[in-house]
Symmetry: C2
Subunit: 197 residues, 2 copies
DNA sequence: TGTCAAAACGACTATATCGTCAATATGAGA
DNA sequence: TCTCATATTGACGATATAGTCGTTTTGACA
């Protein structure tokens, strides 16, 4: 009777499910990044993803849940950009500088990604917090070493994040310019009052 | 026959019109500042303003037109904050510093205003452009005097605006802290590589 | 090739929001 | 008090979007 392997069936299901789900998440990311101010609709998402409406609700309970999934993907892209190089850098300022440059290069190369980050930065609910936590840890370490003139960690984080976000907006708006990345980093380090090691 | 003064009638109308219109604009400003991500609705505006739906459409063609009116009011508040003091300051760095401090103080004192500015900064369509133009003029003058190490005016503007916006977000999020305003200004001047006169 | 559980579909109802318009209210001056 | 141009009202039909659900398709495996 039990001739079918139910576990295998479920696995197949999971794989197919993952493909379609990825389509929807990608469409959602594009729409979320490109919106001006009005909210995105389920109809717009399913049209962009090329799936039926029922399929959307099979995968997500609401647009909010989709947005959360997009945010999770964004978090992952940040981690992938950073994690490998973080461990091998003992100096907090090196880590901070590396991340700053890396993110800015990514934004220059992938405008859609940049738009999405900018949009997501509006709601600091979950995604931006991880990045900020890393940044704050680096700054705190540098402060402890007496190398930062801005004493308030939160303020220092705001300064670095603010410069990064607005420079990224500039790249989106006016395109990447040679030298911008390095100059932006230098400006940020000066702003924090960082003395070289 | 012509016993009524038509011009006077029209004036009365204009006054009453202005009052109701102001109510709607104020409600719109609150909603636009407080929104998370979904678009605001006409129904929400009329409820907040305490007027009927028809009244909204009597004054505005759409939500977009209301948003434009709110943006115009915001522009005006910036000008009022600045203009009187701008003319009597010959030094561009003084002007820039004054504006930076003034805006930050205003944001600390009036959180609703700050929220609205943050939200409006997303769409650099018209409102933010005036502020940016002033800022760029000041920076350009300082660059011409050889006092700024960041040579790209657009980048310099992005840096100053970025710091201001994110510090303002911090104030909204975590409340104003003593010393933040001055430290943020110092950091901005360092970021731009400004040497004192 | 047939089976079947998971996945996808899309038509449908419910609800929200838009935008209109005929009717009513307002209020300064005659 | 009456007039009337202007402003305000809110019910209404039109449209857009949300969310449901019975039906159909898919595809690995027996």
């Amino acid at each position: 009777m039990a001739k079918v392997d139910l576990a295998r069936r479920a696995e197949i299901g999971r794989e197919k499910r993952a493909r379609t789900r990825a389509q929807i998440v990608e469409a959602g990311a594009t729409l979320l990044g490109g919106r001006t101010n009005e909210a995105i609709t389920v109809d717009a998402v399913v049209e962009a993803a090329g799936v039926a409406k029922g399929t959307f609700y099979y995968h997500f309970k609401s647009i909010g849940e989709l947005a959360a999934a997009v945010g999770a993907g964004l978090s992952q892209s940040f981690d992938e950009l950073l994690t490998p190089a973080r461990l091998e850098r003992p100096d907090p300022v090196d880590r901070l500088s590396f991340a700053f440059i890396k993110f800015l290069e990514k934004a220059s190369a992938d405008t859609d990604w940049a738009r999405l980050v900018i949009q997501s930065s509006q709601s600091p609910i979950e995604f931006g917090m991880g990045v900020r936590a890393n940044l704050k840890a680096d700054i705190e370490e540098a402060i402890a070493q007496g190398r930062v003139s801005v004493r308030d960690v939160e303020l220092a984080a705001d300064i670095a994040i603010g410069i990064w976000l607005e420079v990224t907006r500039g790249i989106i708006e006016r395109g990447p310019r040679p030298g911008t990345t390095g100059q932006a980093l230098d400006a940020t380090l000066r702003a924090l009052g960082l003395s070289q090691r």
